[in-house]
Each structure stands twice: as structure tokens, then as C-alpha cells.
Symmetry: C2
Subunit: 142 residues, 2 copies
Amino acid sequence: MSEHPWLVQLNEQGYRLTEARRAVVEIMAHSTYALTPIEIFDEAREAHPALGLVTVYRTLEALEGQGLIQRVHQPQGCQAFITAPAGHQHLLLCKQCGEAALFEGDDLETLIKSIARKTGYQISEHWLQLFGLCPNCRMAQA
Amino acid sequence: MSEHPWLVQLNEQGYRLTEARRAVVEIMAHSTYALTPIEIFDEAREAHPALGLVTVYRTLEALEGQGLIQRVHQPQGCQAFITAPAGHQHLLLCKQCGEAALFEGDDLETLIKSIARKTGYQISEHWLQLFGLCPNCRMAQA
DNA sequence: TCCTTATTGAAAATGATTTTCAATATCAGG
DNA sequence: CCTGATATTGAAAATCATTTTCAATAAGGA
């Protein structure tokens, strides 16, 4: 069987391919929701019951180090993770159901340049995140 | 002596004015750096040595509830607090020294409306934060 | 000044994450 | 296909941040 691209990448970086890693990657690579270590633990144990929570933490660390997932910051807490956006994409989170959408944020360049000019700062990174209601939850609410 | 506006506001909301609260407000209202509870604790104890860390947490909670301070999210962690920006301002943090600058982010409205149209989400909140080097640290580096 | 009650600090409890360590599993080499 | 070096694992303990509990104290209206 062919491995998931994330597993291939981990392998190329010298990580061994184990049941535990396969189980965590399986969950993380397919979720469109930000998940906490415990949630990942619970879901991944369905495929690999012997999995330990510690290993979830260690695998998340490896995946984050490889730029494959990212931590999601929210008002309720900052422990959740989700697939890392590619390129210049940013997160849009539904406050109701937690579903995450992605959007392009290229237009920021202009804003950032103007702020750099005004403040004298040399800007190297930006975080942009939006919160709202996804189409489904909007409908349910109306 | 006249009290700091933050203390006046707390008082109007029914909070009593105590030495502990005065000490914490004194630190938070004048810092241009994001400070962690422990850092605030250490600094505030210079004015009020009997202060307990628990009270720092409780006072931060009150100040955040009043919209006077806000939590600062950073790659290294999300435990720090800083004066809340007024209106549509956002944070710009120096990666080197931790100093915080503020900037206006009104231009975002256009971007946000366009994303709302594209994704179907009803967007109600946005987080924008920039990281870089402040003028001083830029100079020191060059 | 007195009295009610919000507030306090210390200690204990909780929750998340990290470290330690002996057992186990991966995979390169024979 | 076996074998051995060693990366990886899970459990338990340690650590760190935060919250809760509770009796003592202090704020501020009467």
C-alpha cells in the first residue's frame, strides 16, 4: 500500500513509520476542524487502541516542525491543531460548529508595507484569522 | 490623590479599590510590553509585597472583562497580556525585544467583505497581528 | 466607628504538557 | 528472512499554568 504524503515526508526526514504515527496522521490530514490533543487521541485510538497520549503530543510536534499542521489560536484556548494552510492562506473559523475554511490573504501586502513605513518596523510575519458563522450554521440560526 | 481611569472604571462596576488591584493596574496600564502573570506578579510586588499570584490572575480576569487589557498570542505561548488597543487597532510585536506597537487596520473591511462573499461565511470578528523588528532592534542588528 | 461582604493569600486541586525510563518495534545490513 | 542497533513507544512521575477552596482581612456604606 502507498503511504500518505505526510508519512512519506516524515520518512524522508528520518522518522520511522509506526502504527501510532499512521493513526495520528490519518486523523489530522483529513480533518477540517481544529482538534485538541485529547480529541486526536480519542479519534486515533479507534484505529490504534494502544496509542498513548504522549505519542500524540510527540507526533504533533513533528508534524508542526515539518510545517504540515499548525496551532489554532482561539478565544477559548490555543491547544488545537489543524492542517497548515498552503502558501498565503489564512483561517476562517465557524464560532458555532468549529469548521475551518481557508482564504487567500495576498491583499495584505499593501497594508503591511504601509504599516512598516509608518512604524519603522521591519515586518516579517503576520497572523490573520477570521471568526464567524459558516453557511450551514447561518441557515440553522435564521 | 486621583485614581487611574482603569481603577475608576472598576470602581464604577462595583469592584472595590484595593492595594492589590492598584499595584496590578499600575503595571499593566503603563507597560508597552506583553507581560505574563508571573512577570506582572514580580513587578507589582515591588509596590505591594504581600500580593499573591492568585490575585494577579483574578485582577487580569477583571481587566480583560472590562476590555482594558487583552491576551497576546505568540508562537512561544499565549499567556501574556497587554493594554487593549482602542477601536480598530492591532498589535505589532518586536520579535527581539517584545515591544508592542499599534496600528490601524481599517483597510481590512474591504478584504473581509470580499471573503464573506466568496465563502458564504458571516464574519463577525478578526484577529490580525504582525511580527517583526522594531526600529531600535533593527539598528542594533545592522 | 461598626458591620456586611467583597477581597485576599496560602494551600490544595486541576488540567495540560514534558520528562524519564524500561520495553518494544522499525528497518538497515547480513 | 533473520538480526541487531536504535528510534519509538506507553506508563508513571514531574513540571508548569491556572483554578478552586477557605478562613482571615480589609473596603466602604450606614
